[in-house]
């Protein structure tokens, strides 16, 4: 069930990526049940705020950095 929720929130992120990026440029966002529950530039602080908001549901939420610069990942 929890993986399903994660996939639903990932789908929400993909479908609303452009709008979310314009609302939260260069920020981390935490998405749970189709809503942004925390955002900001410092990952630990964002996760801490999200945990206060949704508790352990954070574990199955989507955390994404909405980068406005195109950065190629070469690993």
């Amino acid at each position: 069930m929890s993986l399903k929720e994660f996939k639903q929130d990932k789908k929400y992120l993909t479908e609303n990526y452009a709008q979310l990026k314009s609302e939260h440029p260069d920020e981390f966002v935490v998405i749970h049940s189709g809503k942004v529950v925390a955002s900001g530039v410092a990952l630990e602080e964002v996760l801490s705020n999200a945990r206060k908001e949704i508790g352990n549901k954070l574990n199955n939420s989507v955390v994404e950095y909405l980068n406005t610069r195109k950065i190629e990942m070469v690993v």
Partner: protein, 146 residues
């Protein structure tokens, strides 16, 4: 169990949603793992560790490694970590003993938004697991059989 997908031409990579269960800490969660044939090992990244509430002080720091934009510390999760893959009709759980967590130590020259982008990487399925899978690509289509 087959996971079938299509590469995005703009971002041709394979990201697979995975359920995570860490026995020793009784932690559950989910993350998206990058299928990375260039990585010899599989691991949970720092952002996922923080999201799950993993306490690095309770993990064994096993070895430094060359990572992206600096050095990376590798930690070991004792006991079993269970990774669950699923498609529309079925799921499969693979248990891995002493699974790893990676934490980045960035070089000074790495820009802040690049650091954040690297931190947003959630996990890697590397060759230690891929060799147990059947993985094929055909044009823009891929099939991962776990």
């Amino acid at each position: 169990m087959k996971i079938i997908g299509t590469f995005d031409k703009e971002k041709p990579q394979i990201l697979v949603p995975v359920g995570i269960k860490i026995d020793i800490f009784d932690l559950n969660g989910s993350a998206e793992f990058l299928i990375d044939t260039g990585s010899t090992i599989s691991f949970i990244s720092e952002s996922t560790a923080l999201k799950l509430g993993l306490d690095f002080s309770k993990l064994l720091n096993i070895e430094p490694s060359t990572g992206i934009g600096g050095e990376a510390e590798i930690y070991q999760i004792d006991g079993y970590t269970r990774l669950t893959f699923e498609n529309e009709t079925e799921h499969k759980t693979i248990q891995r003993k002493n699974f790893r967590v990676m934490k980045h130590n960035f070089c000074e020259h790495v820009k802040e938004n690049t650091r954040r982008k690297i931190l947003s990487l959630q996990g890697i399925i590397g060759m230690d697991m891929i060799i147990g899978f059947r993985f094929t690509t055909a044009g823009l289509n891929y099939t991962l059989e776990v």
